[in-house]
Amino acid sequence: MSAVISVDDLGIEFFRSRRRRMSMREMLFHGQSTHSTETFWALRNISFTVGEGEAVGLVGGNGGGKSTLLKMIAGVLLPDEGAVSVTQNVAPLIELTGGFVGELSARDNIYLQAGLHGMGKDEIDERFESIVEFAGPQVRAALDTPFRHFSSGMQVRLGFSVITALDEPIILVDEVLAVGDKVFREKCYKRMESLLEAGRTLFLVSHSEGELKRFSTRGLYLRAGRLAMDGTMADVLEQYNADAAEGSK
């Protein structure tokens, strides 16, 4: 089993203050920017590898660095220390509707979004039908209306449908494993299972124990920016729950 994701001594540093943004006015009148320069390491000394076809679940409390780690694997954040290397293409279920343009029709948006993630026009033509099929009859009926007229449920359904149709070997999921109503969520789970059976590598961030147990075999536990545990999903969840119980005492 060859490693498709390798993370080596990774670290990333953030400013503690939310108001880091500088302003010219401040710099001119105060001679310096007034933002706080206090920093903290959101993640540090993280090392692990993920092999092809593995299903990894990432657990940890809020602010533990889960999303940050996922974004660095997706390549949309750059580490300050260490390195991430990902040898295959990635389908990121991170900001599902981020690339959609409200003014354009759903049809144009499908081509746009799939194109942005590297699909060629012919491939999209080929998969267009299945993307729309998966998103459901409501979306099909509204294919030529502007995307901003879609209900938020329809928007995420279309987003999910496009990204999971990408057919990339690695799937990154940030808490959006299933979207929409009850029926659609079950459809999402089914699609995810079929993707896993087809040998995709999954990297999942979730707070739902059910999802984690259902989809992941290996667990990583992030605590205060450090990798606290790397083991089977069941063991990791047990440890996480024990820590949580301790914390709530």
Partner: protein
């Protein structure tokens, strides 16, 4: 050498780049009834206004070269590309923050695609320029010469210049909140400091050489080279070629240095 590597990375993603450019143009033109007309209406109206002000009110049609209206329209179309592109590239990483945060593309693409989209708009406005050139040519007032060959080179230079400046300003604007206001004011001042309304040789020395430091001076000199009686001035062209290349390197360097901080911020 990172510049070559980054360029190669952007070229590899040319399909995505093209998708983005088409999106920009489609959004722009699908939203308005007049669509294409807006692109040419602005420079046309402004040319007419300046023409009236300078020729009929100030009675000084000699500030530029003859025919003055043609001189104006070449300058204003190129300036519109410059100003529009600079305004949008400086905000490029902010206005598409969601996309930047969710797709792993070479980040330079967000700047390059604005320059290309604005460039396509510029090219689409060229028929208007051609029409006026034809009109004045029939009247026998245009002095075509070999300088016409400099026109495409001028476009390439403006393109490279815009990418350099865009790469420099985009990350700075993402980190410094009021930068876009500064850019707006700076652009308005720069408009009068650039020989758009007047010819560069009308500036009394030694200030004419100071204006050469503005790379748009050389670009306009190249674009206008083939149409008028006065000979081309080489100085500003050489100056702007050097400054344009320098800005490209500075821009690429700044962009790669600030990329990390910008990604955390947006």
């Amino acid at each position: 050498m990172t510049l070559i590597g980054r360029t190669r990375a952007v070229i590899q993603k040319r399909q995505v780049l093209w998708t983005l450019v088409v999106r920009d143009l489609r959004v722009r033109y699908s939203r308005s009834i007049l669509g294409y007309v807006w692109t040419v209406l602005d420079p046309l109206l402004m040319s007419s206004i300046y023409f009236v002000v300078f020729v009929f009110i100030f009675k000084s049609g000699k500030v530029g070269q003859q025919p003055y209206f043609l001189f104006l329209i070449i300058g204003l179309l190129a300036w519109q590309w410059f100003a529009g592109s600079l305004t949008d590239t400086s905000r490029a990483l902010l206005s598409d923050a969601k996309l930047v945060r969710s797709t792993n593309l070479p980040r330079e693409i967000w700047v390059v695609r604005v320059v290309i989209a604005k460039g396509v708009e510029y090219v689409l406005s060229l028929p208007v320029l051609a029409a006026f050139t034809l009109f004045y040519a029939i009247k026998g007032q245009v002095h075509f010469n070999l300088g016409l060959l400099l026109f495409p080179l001028g476009l390439v230079m403006e393109f490279v210049l815009l990418i350099g400046v865009g790469l420099l300003l985009a990350p700075i604007t993402a980190l410094v909140t009021d930068m876009s206001r500064v850019i707006k004011i700076a652009l308005r001042m720069l408009f009068y400091l650039t020989p758009v309304l007047y010819a560069g040789n009308r500036i009394p020395p030694p200030f004419d050489v100071v204006v050469w430091l503005n790379p748009m001076t050389g670009v306009l000199e190249m674009l206008r080279a083939g149409f008028f009686e006065q000979p081309v001035v080489r100085g500003p062209i050489i100056f702007s070629a050097v400054i344009t290349v320098a800005l490209l390197f500075i821009g690429a360097f700044t962009f790669s240095r600030l990329e990390r901080a910008v990604l955390k911020e947006i």
